[in-house]
Each structure stands twice: as C-alpha cells, then as structure tokens.
Subunit: 336 residues, 2 copies
C-alpha cells in the first residue's frame, strides 16, 4: 500500500481468481466480506454437517486435483442426502503446502465449481492457509428440510425393511487396488478385467452421493444414515441409536460385477466389502408398506435400491450368510 | 463386532468423552447422527463464517492446548461480532497427529467447552481425523442477525467517523516476543516490564473477541469488519469495498501501555502495530450523530472504543502521523 491505494494481497487475488466463481449465491457477497449471510428457506430447518479430506489419509497425493475438492464436497452432500435434506451451500477451509502450483489450484477449483453447480450447492465462504503439512480440504455444508422432518438414525422401528442404495464395497476394494499397485497386483489375484478394476478405483476416487433420492428418503424412511465407514459398522450404529437389531441377508447385498468377481476369487474379501468404508451410499429403514413406493421413486431417479433385510428386536447388525452370522475383526473404519 | 453387539470405535469414544459435553444444543443430537439440525431463529438471517489455526502457522506447537481451540473459536466469534450477529453455534474439523495424547485432547476440549459456554456458542458437529501433518483446527461458525441487517464492509459513507475497539498491535508485538525468545530478547530492547511483555504475549495467545458490543455494532455502524490482518490493510479493504477513503490520525490510535513503551524505544514498530494482524478488534464506520451513543454502549459493555479518523472521498486508508502519510512495505497479512 502506498498509503493512497490498496493493492489486493496474493491471498485475495487467489480467492478472487479461483473461488469467487463458485460463490454464486448473493449472500456470499462475492467472498468479499468477513462472513456470508443466508436467509433460511421459509418453514425449513437447516441441516449442518462437516467432513473433509487430507492428502495421504483420504486421497492419494497424486490424485487428479479436480477430483479432490469434489470428493470432499460429495462426502458432505452424502450426509445431507441421507438426512432427506436438499443442499443449500458450503464453507471451505483449505490448507495448502507451499509447493502447490497455480495449475493444481485452478484444476481443484474447477472440479469443485462443477459439483457446486451440479448439486446446486454454492460456496458461501472460505479460509485459505499455507500449511507445512499435507494438503487438506475441510467442508461445512448446509442443507434444508421441512421443519421437524430431518431423517435420523435413531428412529428405526422393529419390522422395518432395511434398504441400501447402489452397490457396497466397491470403494474399499478400489483403495486396495490403489495400494497394491506395483506389488503383486490384486487385480490379477481377483481376476478382474481392466474395466472392473477401473470401476473399483473410480468408486474410491469420486463418490456418487445419492442426493437425487433425498426427497424419497424424506418421504419414506423411518431412519437413515450415509454409509461412509462400512455397511456393517454404520448399520450397527443405526441399530444402536434406534435400540433395535438388524438381520441382513448377505446373499441379497447389492454388489457390482467387479466386487462379485473379486469375492468369487477371494471370499474373505466380504469383510473388506462390509467394513472398508467410503461407499457414500444410503442405508435406510422403512415400513414394509412404503417399500414399493420408495423403490419406484429411486428407480425414477436412476438410483438402485435393494432390500437387504429387516429391523428386529435386540441389538447389533447381524450379517447372515448360509445360515451363519459373519464375525468381523474390525467392524467399522475408525481414525483412532 | 461379535455380530451380536456393537462396540463403539475409538473415534466414537473419543468424541463422546471429550466433545459431547460441548454439544449442549438439542439439534446437535449428542453428536450421534450424520448431521445436526438447526431451526433458524424466527425473523433472522444466519451469518456464516469459517476460520482456523494450524500448529506452526497460527500458534506455537507448545502453546497450552486449552488455548488452541479457544483461539480458533474466538477468531470466528470476532467475525460474527463485527457483523452485528449473536453466536448460534459451530462445527469443528480437527486433524491430530498420531502423537496427540489423551491429556492434550482433554485440555483442548475443556478450553473449547469453556468458551462455548461463555459465548453461548455450542458445538453442533465435527469431524476428527488423524493427520501425518501438524495439528489443525478448523471451525465454521453460525450467528444470527435480524433479517436484512447484517453489517457489511461495503456500506461506509463519506463523513462517517472511524472507530476501533480495544487496542491495536498488541498481538503482533506479542508474536515478535515469542519468536525472539532465546535470542536477543526484544522485550529488553523495547524496555518492557515483565507485565508488559506478558500482556503482549497473552494478546497473541488468546484474542478477546468483542461479542459484547455486537448489538451496538448492529444498531449504529454503517459498515464494520474485524481486524485480523492488521488495521492498515483491513481498513483499506473496508474502504475499497465501500469505494471511499479513510484518513486516520496515528496520534489517536488506541495503544496499550506495553505497545506505547515498545514504540517509544523503536518507532519503526508502528508498521508491526498497524500491519501485523491478530488483533481481533472491530473497526467500524458510523454517522457522527451516532458516535456518542455507540461509545456509551461500548463503555457499558466494558469495551474500549476510540474514534481514530474519518471516512472521506477517494481511495485507500491513509495513516497520518505529524502531517505525513505513513507508507508500509507490506500492508496486510497474507498467507500467499
């Protein structure tokens, strides 16, 4: 500053160049104020969630930068979908190593912009810092549901059907493939075609959150949660919160052709499939009378939905295979 | 999982033990769901902000853990105060190195709990990860203002008085003291008493956000922002957003006795005072007719407020000392 004219700092220029295009909501004030302002949608509650990714923990440092921000945003969008909420917007906290170049940042922001538009979830504000550590992306996302209607984990009823969207275990197998690169290739051991291996890797790289059926979840589910730490552990959490049990028929689990092929070659992978996490599907309980309507709504939205079992009296989620209950060494992904 | 009973993971136990006590709002659902639910206060807009701290960047890795979370929360509270908003709650994203022990975490959470209670800003949800990098704490905070009333940067008017709360430059001098430890001690060079040096260090360690006068800011300010990157650069940002200039009388700047003493010994420190940042005071513009009422409200709330200059036609913030405009090498703190 000459004392007479203010030159925007490098940080402000970076934000203006890469992130202002994502701040399409008028309340974001073009990212030019201390805070954003949101007039809550009339008659609605806000649904609040936060999730993020760290290089070397949740993604590989050499992953394409356009996928990294999208993955972080989609993890949050998946939580909103499971609660029956429509996206409203998000805040972004970004920590970048000094070596981050302009091209990385441009690709990162462009990917994020694509998803902000696709899911109608604009950026409301952010915080950008240098870090001596790995790149990290933390997102806080807001959704809206009609007042009093957020779908919870704790409200499943005995006799409900248990339904899961999409397919289970692909991302957990995909990350095993990534980790196995250059060693004895798991893809070979699992007898996967190149297309199958690519499918599993892609499912880890970029989740497909199920926001297209948030409305159907809101209308029909008695309880729901997103599957992020593995179906076994996450369903067990839902059961604990609802003080019920679940009995799941392993033969009915929705599996991709790639996962089926890997399991045929190595049946012990069922534990990876059920406990590895990163599915970003929705598991929900609903009254049997609502099953057909929910499945029709899911089909109309292009989202597969499969009934896999029932809510019962008792405790815990039992995965029953050929009449026997599976036991897992580690039921749920945990950072600690 | 035995298949029959679910044992909470280490991550869930950690959250329950240390963070559930901060989740006092019913909408936080005891941190036991995918997301929290907030019924927006009637007739209000929500004010959204995010800010955080990284070890080695925004705090010293050996800072007392009870201060670290509080500092991160207070940085966000300061933004809310400057916008005239009352705190509603926050989301916490925590990344911890593997070496973080239980005692550190307990102290961290206890400090945060103290401030969540003090500022009536409960925890709504969080995300806790292991990181191979330094500890980092990212917070997204929500406040409430009457609909359409959020105080902005862009609405200062020519002829307004410029007022700043508290004292300026203490934290910037405090961090210099911390960096100088073990070398030629700046405290000696600046002829500080032990109490003065302690005051400056404390101001860096733990800001005092001005939420007590958020209501007065809302009532009287034409424009406001929090001073986090240094008064010179932040006031210049306010001027740019409002398409005005500011003329500031350096002799009227509110300085602590410690800062006055350091400046007397080393007059060039005026640049550190005005551009070093971490003040977490509020700079505001208000109509001259409202000055007395604002200052009375601030006094009643125990917050010092000082008129330091005027909004004028033109561009940029001019800091005038003995008839000359100061020029700074680096007007505003920037990470990039």
């Amino acid at each position: 500053m000459s004392g007479h004219e203010y030159e925007p700092s490098a940080e402000e220029r970076l934000i203006a160049r890469h992130f202002r295009p994502l701040a399409t909501h008028p309340g974001a004030l073009g990212l030019g104020d201390d805070a954003a302002v949101l007039t809550p949608p009339s008659g609605c509650d806000l649904v609040l969630t936060t999730d993020g990714v760290i290089a070397g923990v949740h993604f590989f440092p050499d992953d394409p930068p356009d996928k990294i921000g999208r993955k972080a945003l989609r993890m949050n969008l998946s939580d909103l979908a499971a609660k029956g909420a429509r996206p409203v917007g998000f805040l972004l906290a970004l920590a970048l190593p000094a070596a981050t170049d302009e091209a990385w940042l441009a690709a990162f922001a462009a990917g994020l912009a694509e998803d902000a538009a696709r899911y109608d979830c604009p950026l409301f504000g952010g915080d950008t810092d240098r870090t001596p550590g790995p790149a990290s992306v933390s997102i806080a996302a807001f959704g809206a549901v009609p007042h009093g209607r957020m779908v919870r984990r704790s409200t499943a009823k005995i006799g409900d059907c248990v339904v899961v969207t999409g397919t289970i275990g692909d991302a957990a197998l995909g990350v095993e493939l990534r980790r196995g690169e250059g060693r004895r290739d798991p893809a070979e051991r699992w007898r996967l075609t190149a297309a199958m291996a690519a499918h599993l890797r892609q499912r880890y790289l970029l989740p497909e959150p199920r926001n297209a059926i948030a409305e159907a979840v809101l209308r029909h589910a008695t309880a729901a949660m997103d599957v992020s730490d593995g179906l076994a552990g996450d369903l067990a959490k839902l059961c604990r919160a609802s003080s019920v049990a679940a009995e799941i028929d392993v033969a009915r689990l929705p599996l991709s052709e790639a996962a089926r092929t890997a399991l045929a070659a190595e049946p012990a992978l069922i534990e990876t499939v059920l406990t590895g996490g990163d599915d970003y599907e929705i598991v929900l309980a609903l009254a049997p009378k609502d099953l057909a309507a929910f499945c029709a709504a899911a089909r109309a939205a292009g989202v597969p939905a499969t009934e896999i079992g029932r809510i019962a009296a008792g405790r815990g989620a039992r995965f029953i295979h050929d009449g026997r209950t599976l036991a897992f060494a580690r039921p749920s992904f945990s950072h600690f």
